[in-house]
Structures are given as structure tokens and as C-alpha cells.
């Protein structure tokens, strides 16, 4: 127990007032010559027998009334065990840490959490004395000062500062931020207030925080943790770059059960995709564990789509826990095919498939458009098929490397035309180092190699494949280049002799997949197998998987794009189905070091935009930005009671449910709640004492 106004503790002397009055009254007695002493003695004897201690009880209650009044004026408060909440009126430096990460863009009751947080800061600042020092930091992009060691003058000025706080991409690192604040403001008496949501507090590293320090921040949670909710949607995982219409993708919704649940919790998750209705999955989640629920979703329509996972109870009631994922769906992937000019089997095979299976391809809403590659238009392709290259000039290799580094996908095959010692033979772009000589057997003979194990990730057209799940059954290989995967490479398929056949590796923002036996059919029968087309789709999906996902931003958020020299990045879009911008590029905003801030609030409409920036390495970068009105996210992790207790004990955690709760909390910070309690106690004591008196002596007395 502490007090805000120690100077008012002298009020405790009020407690001595009844004693003083008692003594004074004994001194200032009225002297009467009394004639009925016999009766008086009888009454006094009765008083001594039964009522004397009542008198002292009454006196004690009056003393307590005085003590309670004095204590109330001293404005007591109850600090936590961690010692937080030191609120001495003198020399307090108010420090506000605002979580402006993406999770704060969650819309609750019609307002974003960030707006609610800023409103909370305003409400808090309303109670600051004029001239008090304050600092304001944001947390999303590290500890960023908005105002540092300023004197609080007017609320309007603070509102101006708050208006500049925007949602930013990044993680809130509370331990680091706390340490930075403590180091920056060492030696000062701080009242740290963190306005954050549950996501910030769910971060595991929070457990690494050292135990209580005197200046441990006071944490406000917004929104509150709802009692009784043991499940939460903690993630919607999309398989790589899901940007192609017609893709049948696996959407994995992760549901976590809190640790304080006593039994497995039945979870019913509905995934709603625009134009496709809802799908429902049911599973039981063990306490403290996560479960993935897999939904097969075909992304039919190009454009911006928001799929929402909603958690429901087993009886159909909807919990207030949902997560939305915004994805940009392009019409198709553009694939440039650089085949072997000497063996046209590859292109012919496609012609054959397109002629013989048009209905199945149409049903699949074929998301791939193959076209003969053009070395001068690499930027138009999402992926490139490069079959059995030979004699590639250095300029083309360099263009290929830049294409992949910027996010393109490369499906590469090494066939009989490849010669050891050529420039491309051991290029850094390749995911594996090839042996000097290939392994060859007689084509069409009885000795061959077959794919043994595959781990090709699921991709487009998976539903078309009805036979072999991998589409590679019956494939025979008569020649291949023995390869040793490089560091970071992933082997998608092994041959029966244990040698890798399909190897992939990320390079820059893109990915390269290498088939060590070629695609032309000279060393294998792969092109004539029924699963070839499916395998091609899945491999192409694998090569574009590593590409960077479009950045999902809410309307009005800022985008930081790299910039160099006088060349400013540009925001173009919205892109049409062909990827061409439909409106003129948007001029860049303010410059921050080597980046330029682009404000999406000025965009004419929502959609998919391309940010083209300047990079010293490649000469230019492009990133897709999906601008959407509303970006809703579920809280990352449910906070169970045990964790809340832990946080409350170690971090002086304060829960604020709503505005009324905030006001009550501010009152508590100001020591008012305890003051009210003390005043009420004083009143009750007074009533108790007086009622005791009137009950005991009966009916009070007429004052003269």
C-alpha cells in the first residue's frame, strides 16, 4: 500500500481527534450539585456491568473514522507485487508505448484497435498535469520515438502527434523495447504505459523478461480476454504464392487451444471464400496444442479475395474469434518455355494434350499459360521452363539470375546436351552440383531407374490427377546427371538408387527446380506419361512458391519502398488481368533514408498494385501490394488465465475491458479508487458508531 500524497498523511492526526475531544470533554465538564446520587450510582453500576466497553468501541470507531478520512485524502493506492504503479506526483516522466503493428488494425466495434489505443492515450493524457514530461513511442518498427522528453502543454498538440501514428509492418519486441526505454530514460521515475493488444503479449519471448523492476511498464490490453474462450484461430496458411485463378490450394487454418482447458476442445472452423460459400471442418484440439484444418479451395476469380476463418462451437454458436487472410489472385501464371530446339517433343506433347484433353484442362481453369520463351521479355513471365540448356551466353545467365532473384521461378532440366565444363554447368543459380559425367543406360532397354520417393508439394491441378498421387508412376529414366544438392537445397524426388532427381533451392526472392534427367524425353519417358502435365503444374507451382507474397495493406497505410539517388519508387495499379496498371503511377511520398514512404490513402480504389523501387543490386525491384479496405486478423494466441496471472505478477499487467474500465483504472492510477474505498469505510464506520450509540443509549439525545 502506498500513497500518492504523503503530505496529506498528517491527516491521520484526525484519528487522534476523537481521543482529543474525549479528553477535552472530560476536562470541560458541567458541574452539577446532584441530589439523586443513589440513583446515579445504581445506573453507573449497571453501566460498568454491561455497557462500558460499548463506549470504548464507539470511541475506537470514531478514531477509525478519522484514520480512514486521513488516509483517503492521502490518496492511497495498491501497487502490484512487482512494484509498478509508482505514481508520486513529483518528477514523473510519463512514457507511452503504442503498439502499431498490423494486429492493431483489427476492427472491433467499428473502430480499429489502433484508434482505440490512441483514444486511450488521449484519455490518459487528459489527466496529466500541465508541464509534465512525457515521451511517446511506437513499437511496430522497433522503438520509434514520436515525441521524446517533451513537456505536456495542450491536448491538441498531443492529438497532432497521435495523428501521425500509422499501422506498420513488423513485430513488437516488448523486451527489447522495454530495455531501450529503460536505458534511454535511466534514472528517472517513469510511469510506463503500454497500449497493446493480446498479440503483443502472446509473444513467447515475453517469458524471457526479467522479473520485476520498479519501472516495469503498466500494460493495457485491448481488447479484453474473453472468459471461457479456450480456442482461437491463430493462422491461415496459404501454400506459397497463391496468385493464380483456378488453383486448387490447400488452405490450412490453425486453431490453438489454451493451456488451461481441462479437456480436448471441439473446434468447428468455417472458412468462407467469396463466391464459394463456406466449408466446415471439425476437430478436437488438445489443451496447449495446435491443430491444422485443411480446406481445399479453388481460387476462381482473379483479384483481391479475403477468406475468413470463423471459429464456432459444436452447437453452432459463433465465437468472436475469426481471422481473415487477404490474397491477390492473378488470372494465370505466365510460363516461358525455352525448349530444346533439336527435340520438339516437349512442345509437341503440350500440343497433344491440349488437343486430346481440352475438357479436363478447361475444367481445371488451367492457370498456366505456356508460351515460347523470349529472352527479351523475361519480365513478362512468372516462371521459365529451361530444358537441357547448352552454350548459354553469360548475358543470358545473368538475366536468368536477375529474373530468379527478383522473384521468378525457374524449372531447369539437365539433359544430354549439357556438357561438363560449360559456363552454366556449375553456375551459382543451380541448386545442385552436377557430376562430371552422366549416368547412362540404353534407352528403351530393360535397365533403368525409377522415381522412388517424392515430396513434391501439392500444387495446381492436383484434383485432376486421379491415379498416381505423384503423377510419376511408370516413369523410367535411362540417363541422368548425378548431382549433389547444395546447401539449402530441397530434394523433391529420389531415384531408386538414392540419387536425387528433382532438387529445388531458393535464390533471391525466387526458386529454381532442377530435374537431372531433362524434359525432352531423350533420357526418359516422362513426357509421355499421363501424369506429366500434372507434375509440370506442381513443379511450376513449386518454383514460384518462393516468390514473395504480395504485401497486404489496409487502405490508408503507408508502404516503404527502397529508393536510391533521385530515382523515386512508383506505385502502379490497380493491375488488370494482364498485370498492366490501369491508372497512372502514384508519386512517392516522403523520403526516409534509403526508402520512400508511399501513402495508399491517396489511391483511387482498392486492388493489386505494383511497387517499383530502385535497388543498387539489380537496378530495380517490384513488389505486389494488395490494398484492401479491411484487414482483419485474429489474435495470434489465446491468453489463458495462467499466463495472465504470470503476466500480472511479473509485468504489472492491468486489464482494461472497456472505456468504463479504463476510467476506473485511471482512477486507480490516480489513487482514487482506494480513496473512495477509504471514504466509504469512514462513512460506514461513522454510521456504525452512531447507530451503535443510538441503539445502546436509545433514541439519541436532544442537543441543547
Amino acid at each position: 500500500m502506498g500513497v500518492l500524497q504523503p503530505g496529506y498523511l498528517w491527516f491521520l492526526l484526525i484519528g487522534a481527534l476523537p481521543l482529543l475531544i474525549h479528553l477535552l470533554m472530560r476536562l470541560r465538564v458541567r458541574r452539577i450539585r446532584w441530589g439523586a446520587t443513589y440513583l446515579l450510582d445504581r445506573a453507573l453500576a449497571r453501566l460498568r456491568e454491561e455497557s462500558r466497553w460499548w463506549y470504548y468501541l464507539l470511541l475506537a470507531s470514531r478514531v477509525l473514522v478519522g484514520l480512514a478520512l486521513g488516509y483517503a485524502f492521502a490518496r492511497p493506492f495498491l501497487p502490484s507485487r512487482a512494484g509498478g504503479g509508482r505514481l508520486e506526483a513529483e518528477d514523473v516522466h510519463y512514457v507511452i508505448l503504442v503498439d502499431n503493428s498490423y494486429s492493431m488494425s483489427y476492427v472491433d466495434n467499428g473502430r480499429r484497435h489502433l484508434d482505440q489505443a490512441l483514444l486511450l492515450v488521449e484519455r490518459l493524457a487528459e489527466r496529466w498535469p500541465r508541464g509534465e514530461r512525457f515521451s511517446l513511442y511506437t513499437l511496430a518498427d522497433g522503438l520509434a520515438p514520436v515525441a521524446e522528453r517533451q513537456r505536456f502543454e495542450t491536448l491538441e498538440r498531443l492529438r497532432g502527434l497521435l495523428a501521425g501514428i500509422r499501422i506498420q509492418d513488423g513485430l513488437v519486441d516488448l523486451p527489447v523495447a522495454g530495455e531501450q526505454v529503460r536505458q534511454a530514460l535511466a534514472g528517472e521515475t517513469l510511469q510506463l504505459v503500454l497500449v497493446a493488444d493480446r498479440q503483443a503479449l502472446s509473444w513467447p519471448r515475453l517469458d524471457d523478461l526479467p522479473a520485476a523492476a520498479a519501472e516495469r511498464p503498466t500494460l493495457w490490453l485491448q481488447p479484453p480476454v474473453q472468459a471461457g474462450v479456450n480456442l482461437a484461430v491463430v493462422g491461415i496458411d496459404l501454400p506459397g504464392q497463391v496468385l493464380v485463378a483456378g488453383d486448387l490450394v490447400e488452405v490450412r487454418v490453425r486453431v490453438r487451444c489454451s493451456r488451461n482447458a481441462s479437456e480436448p476442445q471441439p473446434a468447428v472452423v468455417e472458412l468462407e471464400v467469396p463466391g464459394q460459400g463456406r466449408q466446415r471442418r471439425t476437430d478436437a484440439v488438445l489443451p496447449g496444442q495446435e491443430r491444422e484444418m485443411i480446406f481445399d479451395v479453388r481460387l476462381e476469380q482473379p483479384g483481391i479475395q479475403a477468406m475468413t476463418a470463423t471459429l464456432r462451437t459444436h452447437d453452432g454458436l459463433e465465437w468472436d474469434d475469426r481471422m481473415s487472410a487477404v490474397v491477390a489472385v492473378r488470372e494465370r501464371l505466365e510460363v516461358g518455355v525455352f525448349g530444346n530446339p533439336e527435340a520438339r517433343a516437349f512442345d509437341t506433347l503440350f500440343d497433344y494434350l491440349l488437343r486430346t484433353q481440352p475438357q479436363r484442362l478447361a475444367e481445371s481453369a488451367n492457370p498456366l499459360r505456356f508460351q515460347v520463351g523470349d529472352w527479351n521479355a523475361l519480365a513478362d513471365y512468372d516462371a521459365i521452363v529451361l530444358d537441357d540448356p547448352t552454350g548459354l551466353p553469360a548475358a543470358r545467365l545473368e538475366a536468368l539470375e536477375a529474373f530468379v532473384r527478383r522473384g521468378g521461378g525457374l524449372l531447369l532440366s539437365s539433359g544430354p546436351r549439357l556438357q561438363a565444363g560449360e559456363a552454366e554447368f556449375d553456375h551459382p543459380l543451380w541448386p545442385a552440383r552436377l557430376a562430371a559425367t552422366p549416368a547412362i543406360r540404353a534407352v528403351g532397354g530393360t535397365a533403368f531407374w525409377t522415381p522412388q520417393t517424392t515430396s513434391i508439394p501439392p500444387g495446381p491441378l492436383r484434383a485432376l490427377h486421379t491415379g498416381d498421387p505423384d503423377g510419376l508412376a511408370g516413369v523410367r529414366l535411362y540417363g541422368y546427371w548425378p548431382a549433389r544438392p547444395k546447401e539449402g537445397a530441397q530434394v523433391f524426388c529420389l531415384l531408386d538408387n538414392g540419387e536425387p532427381w528433382i532438387v529445388g533451392r531458393a535464390h533471391g526472392f525466387g526458386r529454381v527446380v532442377l530435374l537431372t534427367s531433362g524434359l525432352s524425353g531423350l533420357w526418359n519417358n516422362l513426357p509421355v506419361r499421363s501424369g506429366f502435365l500434372h507434375a509440370m503444374h506442381r513443379l511450376l507451382a513449386a518454383v514460384v512458391e518462393g516468390a514473395e507474397l504480395p504485401l497486404n495493406v489496409g487502405r490508408g497505410d503507408d508502404i516503404l519502398a527502397p529508393a536510391q539517388g533521385e530515382v523515386a519508387p512508383a506505385l502502379s495499379g490497380p493491375l488488370n488481368d494482364s498485370g498492366e496498371p490501369t491508372v497512372a503511377p502514384l508519386a512517392a511520398g516522403s523520403r526516409h533514408g534509403r526508402a520512400v514512404r508511399l501513402h495508399t490513402g491517396r489511391l483511387p480504389r482498392n486492388g493489386l498494385y505494383a511497387v517499383r523501387g530502385v535497388d543498387s543490386g539489380s537496378g530495380g525491384t517490384e513488389r505486389l501490394v494488395a490494398v484492401y479496405d479491411e484487414r482483419a486478423e485474429s489474435d495470434v494466441a489465446p491468453l489463458d488465465e495462467a499466463r495472465l496471472v504470470w503476466l500480472a505478477e511479473h509485468l504489472d499487467l492491468q486489464m482494461v475491458d472497456d472505456e468504463a474500465g479504463l476510467l476506473a483504472f485511471l482512477d486507480r492510477l490516480a489513487g482514487r479508487r482506494e480513496m473512495y474505498v477509504a471514504l466509504i469505510a469512514a462513512l460506514l464506520l461513522l454510521l456504525f458508531g452512531e447507530s451503535l450509540l443510538s441503539w445502546k443509549v436509545g433514541g439519541g439525545h436532544r442537543r441543547s
Partner: protein, 304 residues
């Protein structure tokens, strides 16, 4: 100081103090006695004896029986009134002047009320040719033997006015004195006291008086303050009989207990008086003497 004003004297002329018991006064009077003589109440016939007054012969009986019978009457006797006035120190306690000022009342002290009451009864008795005696219970104990002259009344008034009030308020010696002087039966003993003493000796003496056939009237005097302890805060009570005895107490806490004690005390006395067939008359110093006498004497007349 004039204890009896003309208004009271005039009132007393309207009443008659009739003894309820058989009296045995020395002179003829208004009250029944055990003596046979020339009263108005016929008792019986007896044979004529030499020396009997001829006027008591019943000639009608002689006419019928030719024998001489004498009518025997109960003789009406005079009443002897003993007024016992408590003149102890407790009666001296003056009414609280501040208390009176706050309530805008004027009170007389208990001793004065008692003196007026006793003297009024004596006056009433003397007015009807009865004898009135007076005992002043104080230090020292003073007494005047019953007499019926108006001069005696003046003497009693002078005695009451000139006697100081002091000493403990034990009435037992005074009652003992009355018992000795009044003999057996026939007297009316009026006691005016605040009863601020241990009651047992006095009750015993009163019971003795009743056992001897005396009629006893007990006037219990109390001031309004003593009845209700209508005070506030701390009070230093100084005993009027022994100034060294002091009681310092918070009246707000004591008041209710005190009132209950007063009620209990009065109830005890009332119950004792009922048992002994003693008239118990509570008298306040704020009551007017005429009202007290008027009520009491009328009630006495009605009850016969």
C-alpha cells in the same frame, strides 16, 4: 419566606382530610375512633348502669320492654397528622439554573416543595380541628408534637423555614421517632422525601408504622432533571449530601440506563406501597402545589 400562599390556603378550605383508619385522638373530631362515647354512629345497646348519662337511655326500648338500656355510640375523634419532611442534603440540591434557562422554566428546590406540601397538610388538619405534628428529617432531627392551634401552624412554618438542609437522607430515625410518639394506630403520617437513600431501612420503618395501624402517605419528590437526566456530554455530579463524592460521567451514554433505573426504582416503591397500602404520590418540583393537593385530596375523597 411564605411557604403557603393565600391561594393554597383558600384551596385547602375546600377539602377535608378524612382518616381512612380508626383514629384515637384525644379530642372529639371528625374521624372514627375505637372509643365508645358520644359519637353519631350507633354501636349497640347495653343495660343501664349507674352513672350512665341519662340522655343515652333508649326510651323506645324502655317502652317496649320496661327495662333501661343505654345506647352505645362510637365516638368521633380527632386526627393526628404527622408530617415528615426530608431535610437532608439531597433536598437542598438546587435546580440547575442553566437547565432552567434553556427550558425557560422556574423550579423550586425539592426541600421547598416538601416543606410546602407538609405544611399544607398540617394546615388542612388544623383547619378541621385536628392535630398536626411535624418532623424535619435532617441534621439535627427536629420535631414538633401535634397540636391544633393556628399558632402551632405558624410555629411549624417558622420551623420549616429556619431549619437548614444537611446530612444524609435516611428517614428511618425520623420514622422511628414518629412510631414512638404516635403510639399505636390512628395517625396519618405524611412523608415528603426524594427517597435518595437505601430504601430497606425506611421501608421497614414504614411497614412498622402500617403494622401499628397508622395511615401513611408517601410523597416522592423529584426534579425533572433527576427524572430524565436530560443533560448532554460530560457532567461532574457532586453529591449534595456529601460534596466530596463526585461522579464524572458522559451523560449521553448513561442517560438511558439512568432512566431505566429511575423507572425501576419508582416501580419498586410503588409495588412496596401497594403491598403496604400506602399512598404513593410522585411529586415533581415543576408541579404546582395546588395541583398536587387538588389531585391527591380529590382522589382521596373519591376513594373514601
Amino acid at each position: 419566606m411564605e411557604l403557603l400562599n393565600p391561594e393554597v390556603r383558600e384551596l385547602l378550605r375546600q377539602f377535608e382530610l378524612q382518616a381512612r383508619t380508626i383514629v384515637s385522638g384525644l379530642r372529639c373530631g371528625l374521624h372514627r375512633s375505637r372509643r365508645k362515647g358520644s359519637g353519631a354512629d350507633f354501636l349497640y345497646h347495653r343495660g343501664y348502669a349507674l352513672g350512665d348519662p341519662i340522655k343515652h337511655l333508649d326510651w323506645k326500648v324502655y317502652g317496649r320492654t320496661e327495662r333501661h338500656y343505654t345506647k352505645v355510640f362510637l365516638e368521633d375523634s380527632s386526627l393526628r397528622l404527622w408530617a415528615l419532611v426530608d431535610y437532608s442534603g439531597s433536598m437542598e440540591a438546587e435546580p440547575e439554573t442553566q437547565w432552567q434557562a434553556e427550558r425557560q422554566v422556574a423550579l423550586i428546590p425539592k426541600w421547598e416543595q416538601a416543606a410546602r406540601l407538609g405544611l399544607a397538610l398540617c394546615c388542612l388538619a388544623i383547619n378541621q380541628q385536628d392535630q398536626a405534628g411535624l418532623v424535619v428529617a435532617g441534621e439535627p432531627l427536629r420535631w414538633w408534637a401535634p397540636a391544633s392551634s393556628s399558632r402551632h401552624l405558624s410555629l411549624l412554618a417558622h420551623g420549616l423555614a429556619t431549619t437548614s438542609r444537611r446530612g444524609a437522607g435516611d428517614l428511618a430515625p425520623a420514622l422511628k421517632l414518629i412510631e414512638e410518639r404516635a403510639g399505636s394506630g390512628g395517625s396519618l403520617i405524611a412523608v415528603a422525601s426524594d427517597l435518595s437513600f437505601h430504601p430497606e431501612p425506611v421501608r421497614k420503618a414504614l411497614a412498622n408504622l402500617r403494622a401499628r395501624g397508622h395511615e401513611v402517605v408517601l410523597f416522592h419528590l423529584a426534579t425533572p432533571l433527576e427524572r430524565g437526566l436530560d443533560l448532554n456530554r460530560w457532567v461532574d455530579f457532586r453529591c449534595a449530601e456529601a460534596p466530596a463524592v463526585r461522579r464524572r460521567v458522559d451523560v449521553t451514554l448513561l442517560r438511558e440506563l439512568y432512566r431505566r433505573e429511575v423507572e425501576s426504582f419508582v416501580a419498586e416503591w410503588r409495588e412496596f406501597c401497594n403491598r403496604q397500602r400506602i399512598d404513593y404520590v410522585p411529586v415533581g418540583t415543576d408541579d404546582g402545589l395546588t395541583d398536587i393537593l387538588n389531585q391527591y385530596l380529590r382522589r382521596r375523597e373519591m376513594e373514601g
